[in-house]
């Protein structure tokens, strides 16, 4: 489960090459491979965040088409491909939940496009950070892992998590705070 098998199918390096192929050559075969890698996981992700199967497939499509359209904005020094795809999926899901409003772009998009300065760091650092974050998440104690999982997987606000686990809201927040501090330490330590 580590991120360092660089030649394997679906490895961070291969995913990065595929996204570059979209950006540089509008390579539809590369798109198909990215689709086959991410779409089945995205359907699971959206289904677990409480949307109907049909809607999950629809937002998965939207997410993958956004990957195609935004491929040139992907900055490998900022994040691994899986993390980037997660942010696109998250934003589309947030938009979907609030679809009754007319505004479709989220403030995330605007920050992404206009405020984050492109970094000159080697893409290796982003992959390394993502791999460390994964190890830190795996190492969380069960009670903290549950809260983080419900937040990122289930896309549940703190109040819903408190209700489901039958624990006080303050406990949800303190567990999340402890977990986030450990995850932060994973990349700040000797970085």
């Amino acid at each position: 489960m580590t991120a360092n098998s660089s030649r394997a199918s679906g490895s961070p390096d291969e995913l990065r090459r595929l996204v570059n192929a979209l950006a540089d050559h509008r390579d539809k075969a590369a798109f198909a491979r990215l689709f086959n890698h991410f779409a089945p996981r995205l359907i699971t992700f959206f289904s677990r965040s409480g949307v109907a199967r049909e809607t999950a497939e629809e937002i998965t499509q939207e997410t993958m088409i956004a990957v195609w359209n935004k491929a040139s904005l992907y900055d490998p020094a900022q994040a691994g491909v899986a993390t980037w795809v997660f942010t696109i999926a998250r934003n589309l899901r947030v938009d979907r939940v609030r679809r009754e409003g007319r505004r479709s772009r989220t403030e995330f998009d605007e920050i992404e496009e206009s405020t984050f300065a492109p970094s000159s760091e080697d893409y290796f650092l982003a992959n390394e950070r993502d791999a460390r974050v994964r190890l830190a998440v795996d190492a969380l104690p069960d009670d903290q892992a549950a809260v983080v999982r419900m937040s990122f997987f289930g896309q549940k606000p703190h109040t819903d998590i408190a209700r489901e686990l039958a624990i006080p809201l303050g406990t949800v927040k303190s567990r999340l705070r402890l977990a986030m501090a450990k995850i932060r330490d994973a990349w700040e330590r000797d970085a």
Partner: protein, 215 residues
Amino acid sequence: MTINHHPSLETLGSLAAGTLAAGPRLVVATHLAGCPGCRKLVGGFEAVGGAFLEALPASPLPPELLERAMASLAEPAVAPRAQPSSPAQRGLPDAPVPLRGYPIGLWIPLQPGLRISRVKIPEDRNANVILLKVAAGRQLPLHGHDGTEYTQVLSGAFSDAMGHYEAGDCIEADDDIDHLPIVDKDGECICLAAVDGRLRLHSFMARVVQPFLRL
């Protein structure tokens, strides 16, 4: 600009997860626009989502899904840039990027030296987001709230018993504030604030005006 006060780790984690409510999200996004340290943290927390996504079991993929996606691929349009301030943002000359495009209501004078305006969040009508303009040396309005309150200082500065807050700082308060925030003597202070829950203004005038602000 030195930023000394930041949103909590759990709030930045919720932003990364996509579970922060629209109002607080706008305030925290405004903070992020000026705070590279918090942007780095959120970027790292987003990797939690990436790790989860990679580890998720694959759902069966209906074969026509890929075909349909391939059929709708187009040459990408040039990515739209951030919108300039809309004319609706009267009285706020340098709106930070995340705030642009959100219409701002009329500035309502609440008490001498205090004007307040509601920021409309079309995607969440229940969001309580306000802008406060407080004159130099004046006190910020006393208020209570049910949930967490997020305040981003846009310009100017104020102090309370806990500290001194300047442009760029974000104050996250879980409990009712019982100390007295007072704006610095050398200029007015503009803040963006959101409450995760209901806001209760304490002064008589505030209660009169509250229904018009729909808070």
